[in-house]
Symmetry: C2
């Protein structure tokens, strides 16, 4: 098709393959409405191809194109019964750019084109509104001078400001027709002085100048920069839209408004919108006048006084509702609409899919399926998984004023208020007295877990989105703001500073883990309600997704939450979290401080019943589902006390000299604990620890069986493997303990043994490792740390520099680095499956709850993802979407 | 060829393709000598194929084989003029196993076979030595009973012990003919009691039994275990050697000895060896009698009294020298020989390539090329590169007794003695007073560098072969023993404990960095002499190798040393090492403690002239060679003080409150500095630091040019890159500084920009990164840390468990992990070269000085390796060998 210009009602445009590529976003959209027979002000689109031609033709429009433009203009004249440049009923047009995708503020627009010294008089006469006509003309001169003639806009603004100063008024609305007349004169003088020309009075010259200027604006510096930053190819070009002007500000039977076809905040199937009589589009947005409601229902519900459109313009309202229905049916989605009423005539200016809250998105999607507007698949694809978070956590009451004292990273969603405490013990003490607290720490460590449990929220000054605080808080579903570098904590003085504000221990603060804000005082929160719509969508996702969704959990409560949210097993049960309980930590420390294997075994024996009972509870809650238990992973020094006082206390309770404890601590000190004596390396050095843990697991299984209680399918996971030999040795250890317990109880045990792939070498060696593994679970947190060489605890110091410099698009601990870490995951999956066809593949890093990463996992062909309990619904949705996108 | 038995002089064996596979090591060797016409006691080899047949035939020898064995035995009888089982001149034989490769102690041997109650009398008569005959008989009974009949050896030993107790004597030599007679009777009774049989008197039955037993011993439990541990296939099987016995202990005209065809310790071309008259092989080894020299020359030189073989057995000696010459000519290598003289008749029992010192290896190789015995290529391949280390460093005097108090890892070769000091400052203080010290630290840090320079040697309690101490010490050529977990340092008490020994500050100790030993007191050392032979070999290596050899150095002195050792450039010049100098560290700290960019720039300006002058010196020493300068790499906190006292001192000198300094230290603290804010991340966050360094580099070049001093080819290296964008940004920074200085001085600068590949992601992304890189230098230290997830500073805690469990064959920081890290290096090389054909590839990790790793680099097609100055000769040799092995 060689056609380079399409009018908005040109049905031949239906045949265009990539409408937006050729017509631009705006042109495609207006044409779509035009062809639907909706009242769109007549107009046409000059395609992006002409932009190409324009640049090839020495930045000039070919004569043929100019002729075609004139031909299309004639059509507008015919439809509007106005004439371009006419001295009685002049046609005014807008000239707008329209690229393939929106480049807000980057490209140029000219309104009211067609006005000159003569047509402005005609406009005045026609509308009987001299001020309107002159105001329109001066606006046109301003825009045209800036866009086409290249005179800086502030020069005109200065003239207006000076004029108002002389006249002693403040607002543009204080200027009348004569004032604008005077200013128009001044504007013309300015143009003459700056450009040595008269302002063009020939309307055709105006039009061609404007079109040329729009094409030229594609290569303006700011547009180039914008494209570079947003990776938009330079050769796309822009289209140009010429459209008849309509005015909502020509009198009482004029108006302008915006509307949604359904309620964007609740999703209810009611029209929802606002309008203003005798106003322009900007007035609705600017908020200088209070808009009126469109429907009487919403007017009543809001208790507003001003009448609704339904009441004051009943005919136009009725027409509008028909348009709404037509658009929804056509676009099969809730629409966000702009309209203008000129002399009781409705004109549609814009329609697009409307933004909505998570709650509304879900309700609209479910409703539209019931209305047979869309399929279940479409419904699923329409919901942004990340927004579900807001539905599952308490949120701050929007209506209340907040005193924000600092911001940090939105590490774990939800809002919480409480008294500031600086130690885990204090959080626990106040919790026992039924007082809510926010635990404020430089950073948290596994020692703080009991306090994190006891507190309502966590605030840290250091650490990123995947710092200890963030990870643990998300796992618990506790709100958390991490890495708030704006606060300075003084533990000794028991306060923290945020700017000039000092917040003392015991003072109330509120944190919003969804936005990273820290507020003074208690801000009321709104509790989440999980609707039937939510459950419906969740059920639908299960019909489509292939990826299973498990959870990372190690307490009975978390397991229950996760199962309620639809978790299909546990992908990561971190046994060390069970070690920090007050009753056990002493035995753990005793074990670590032991000098002989015998002493160590004695201490381990004391721990065994605790671990066994933990496992019994978890296995029972997760009955019939797989539970992956990871054997001890962190370095032993994480369990030892850090402060002088704690060291002395531990020494006393273990009957040791403080010096001995300190010596052991110093012995265990590591420069880089992340790369130290941890994971399966502990199992190799101290097999007795892993033996105890396996015994606890298998005895839990045996006891449940004997007590006839339903139980889970146990998968034992060996962490931090980098060679096949490690797994071979430790698999043998697991099997030998199983064997021992089978013999003792005359029971056959079912279990799997697998490993985490969390080191680059493990990924590379997947072939040989898979021979000893029933499953691989990609530990992408650590795999990201090692592949990128970035400690997530320390990344806060430079990650923002990296995002600023566009080195990373997004924190690689939040969304998986598909090029680097991703290649290793793919490679390990292929090599592992090739050597062991029955191997199960999953992911248990923080990425397991990130939609983009889930999409990657789906493409890579993993069997499951595992994430924190509160992200299970997000993962279910994302997994279904990933499948549907394939 | 279907022949399954080969006599030692059977020339048809020459046609066998894999002699050792078929005849076993020992059989091939004896046959080789036999076919050379040397006096080998006659005998034959039953091939490994028969071992197969034996097991297929229900563990029996086929009749045909038995017949063939009898036939071969007849040949021996003919040659020796003795008869098997004869009552006058009986033939005795040995039956020995002989597998493809030596399995020391694993398989069985029977000597003196052919003795029975009657032939022993014949032997007595023939030798006129009753005691010898009976002693031989009882030995045979013992061995046979153990090997063939399966009676435990200790039962016979107990009988002998009891007998001696009864008789009241201590030694076997105190027993006479009659005693042995009695014991033979007891032995026979024991056999009857244990196995209900008589000791076999039929010599043929003895022989077949012994052969069967040798074949059976291939599948004994200990042999199987040995094969498993050493990865020897079970199906190789063993050969059996039957050989006529000869005796060196039948009287004064008998003797036995060992000899080398050249001096194995100096390499001099003189026969060298020892012998004993009227003795057996064991006697020479056991050391109960002092052996005599073989040549009169060595007797004279040693000032020995006992006459030489040359003097007492001149005829045999002459024959022996002929054999020596023949063997060297045949094997084209220095031989280690065993011989026996029976009644003035020389018999050769063994020959093999002799072990030798590095010094001897070099001299022998060079001499043999001159003698046209071997080619230059062969000469190069014969020297173990690792042994060169001993030639370049002082070694401990072998003759002095040592009191070893502890051992650690042999981290940096050479021996050193000095007073124990526990701080770098003390080492420096004493150095100024011309006193030698050994710096003893838990571990070292960059802060200790001045002390490491000042000390004669370094001893640490923690850290592996590539800990800071080890790496720096090797770089400096300082002896170092690292990770000596046997010592406990008490800094407060100023002493360290090693077992029960307490060594105080100021006490003298000696360390041997080649063996890892720590000794009390001063042990005299021997200085190395670099011989002309060494230079010759080094020159030859350069004719063959393609891999260039550079060095890692950053001081003028090290550069000079390296260039003398043949370094062809600097592969890694660590600019941060220049920061620790006392004059500069204050400015460095000021820079780090700066709160504004301005303050930082001021501090950097002070550093600039220092860096510039360093570069001028280095560039000049390395004129015409490439010098790779790495921009700042370590995290900034490494430069800050650690102790309370130092903090206060720094605060004072910078006019800051100690609290401020502490706050900044706490701000900069990192959980995992290895994965923290370092490398190019510093360049991204603080471009002014890299700008200063580039300025220093380019200004150094400009000044040298202006001063008309020869200079080096500068390559600027950006460390720790993981994305192409990092390199793109920083390359731009380098170019812009170069540009600035070019304009300022109107000089065109030549330089390259490249990066280290030291993170797995960098290796994976080599394609995109290579677009901005003129070279890649593989930083395999860090690449090993991240790929394996092992911190080299912390690896000491579990690495020994890993070696013990055979998880690692060798410390992966010593020799490159070819499967894991190696795959990444290969992959990055391929991807990098594909995208950028002119890219230069090198390695600058510690592995650059390890022969195995150099072989890997050569195979992977790298252009150069870089290693510490003292390893340059090793690398040159290893690189040549790698090329020759291709």
């Amino acid at each position: 098709m060689k056609k380079n210009i399409f009018s908005f009602d040109d049905t031949s445009a239906r045949k265009l393959k990539n409408k937006k590529n050729i017509l631009g976003g705006k042109g495609a959209n207006l044409g779509e409405m035009g062809r639907l027979g909706l009242p769109v002000p007549p107009g046409f689109t000059i395609t992006t191809k002409v932009c190409d031609i324009f640049y090839q033709n020495n930045k000039k429009l070919p004569k043929k194109t100019v002729k075609n433009i004139e031909k299309e203009l004639k059509k507008i004249e015919k439809k509007t019964k106005k004439k371009f440049g006419d001295l009685e009923n002049p046609l005014l047009v807008s000239v707008r750019s329209g690229a393939r995708i929106s480049m807000p503020g980057m490209m140029d627009t000219i309104l009211n084109l067609g006005l000159n010294d003569k047509t402005v008089v005609a406009l005045k006469n026609k509308t009987s509104n001299g001020r309107f006509a002159k105001d329109s003309y001066r606006r046109f001169i301003q825009m045209y001078s800036n866009v086409v003639l290249g005179i800086e806009g502030h020069l005109f603004e200065e003239l207006i400001d000076n004029y108002k100063l002389t006249k002693g008024v403040l607002l543009d609305t204080d200027l009348d027709e004569e004032d604008w007349d005077g200013l128009i004169k001044n504007f013309k003088e300015l143009i003459k002085k700056e450009k040595k020309i008269q302002f063009p009075q020939d309307v055709k010259q105006q039009l061609i100048g404007a079109i040329n200027a729009v094409f030229l604006s594609w290569n303006s510096q700011r547009a180039k920069t914008y494209r570079k930053l947003n990776q938009i190819p330079d050769n796309w070009g822009t289209a140009v839209n010429i459209q008849a002007m309509v005015f909502g500000n020509m009198g009482k039977n004029c108006s302008t408004g915006v509307a949604f076809t359904r309620n964007p905040s609740t999703g209810e199937k009611n029209f929802f919108g606002e309008f203003l009589i005798n106003a322009q589009g900007e007035d609705v947005v600017a908020g200088t006048r209070t808009p009126q409601y469109i429907t009487s229902k919403s007017k009543r519900e809001a208790g507003a006084n001003e009448p609704s459109m339904e009441e004051v313009m009943p005919k136009v309202y009725k027409e509008l509702t028909k348009v709404f229905l037509k658009l929804e049916k056509h676009y099969r989605d809730m629409q966000d609409i702009e309209f203008t009423v000129e002399n009781n005539k409705l004109w549609m200016l814009q329609t697009r899919s409307g933004k909505r809250t998570a709650k509304a998105a879900i309700k609209i999607a479910v409703d539209m399926v019931k209305e047979k507007l869309i399929s279940k698949k479409e419904a699923i694809l329409r919901i942004d998984p990340n927004t579900l978070d807001t539905l599952l956590h308490p949120t701050l009451d929007d209506k209340v004023k907040k005193e924000i004292v600092a911001t940090g990273l939105p590490a774990s969603p939800g809002a919480a208020s409480g008294k500031v405490v600086f130690t885990a013990d204090e959080a626990e003490r106040l919790n026992e007295m039924m007082q809510d607290t926010i635990l404020v720490r430089l950073e948290t460590s596994p020692e703080d877990i009991h306090g994190m449990h006891a507190a309502k929220g966590i605030l840290t000054a250091r650490g990123g989105m995947t710092s200890h605080a963030a990870v643990v808080a998300r796992g618990m579903g506790r709100p958390c703001v991490s890495g708030s570098s704006e606060i300075t904590i003084d533990y000794d003085a028991k306060h923290f500073k945020a700017g000039n504000v000092i917040i003392k221990e015991g003072e109330l603060i509120t944190i919003d883990g969804g936005s990273g804000k820290v507020m003074k005082g208690k801000v009321p929160t709104v509790k989440p309600e999980i609707s039937g719509y939510f459950s419906t969508i969740m059920k639908w996702t299960d019909q489509f997704r292939k990826l299973k969704v498990r959870t990372n959990a190690e307490t009975e409560a978390d397991c229950k939450t996760a199962r309620e949210f639809g978790a299909e097993g546990i992908g990561l049960c971190r046994t060390e979290h069970m070690f920090f309980d007050e009753e056990r930590i002493l035995s753990v420390r005793q074990m670590i401080l032991s000098k002989s294997k015998e002493d160590r075994n004695n201490a381990l024996e004391k721990l065994l019943p605790y671990q066994k009972n933990d496992f019994k509870k978890i296995f029972n809650v997760m009955f019939n589902l797989p539970v992956t238990v990871r054997l001890l992973d962190p370095p032993l020094h994480e369990f030892l006390p850090k402060t002088e006082r704690d060291i002395e206390e531990v020494a006393r309770s273990l009957n040791l000299a403080a010096k001995e404890v300190k010596e052991r601590i110093s012995e265990l000190h590591e420069e880089n604990p992340m790369l130290g004596h941890r994971g399966c390396r502990l199992g190799i050095s101290f097999p007795e620890i892993y033996e105890m843990q396996c015994e606890a697991i298998f005895e839990a299984l045996v006891e449940l069986k004997k007590e006839k209680i339903k139980t889970a399918l146990v998968e034992i996971m060996i962490p931090l493997v980098s060679t096949d030999t490690e797994l071979k040795i430790l698999r043998k250890l697991v099997d030998s303990i199983a064997n021992k317990i089978e013999k003792k109880n005359k029971i056959k045990l079912k279990y799997m043994v697998g490993t985490m792939i969390e080191l680059p070498r493990a990924a590379l060696q997947a072939k040989s490792i898979s021979k000893y593994a029933d499953f691989f679970s990609f530990g992408t947190n650590d795999l990201t740390q090692t592949t990128l060489g970035i400690s997530r605890d320390d990344s806060g110091k430079f990650l923002s520099d990296y995002i600023d410099n566009k080195i990373f698009e997004i924190d690689p601990f939040v969304s998986i680095d598909q090029n680097g870490v991703g290649e290793l995951v793919e490679l390990a999956s292929q090599r592992g499956r090739k050597a062991n066809k029955r191997i199960k593949l999953g992911i248990c890093g923080e990425h397991g709850g990130d939609p983009k990463s889930i999409d990657f996992c789906s493409k890579t062909g993993l069997n499951y993802v595992s994430c924190s309990p509160f992200r299970v619904p997000i993962a279910r949705l994302a997994a279904a979407q990933a499948e549907l996108r394939k």
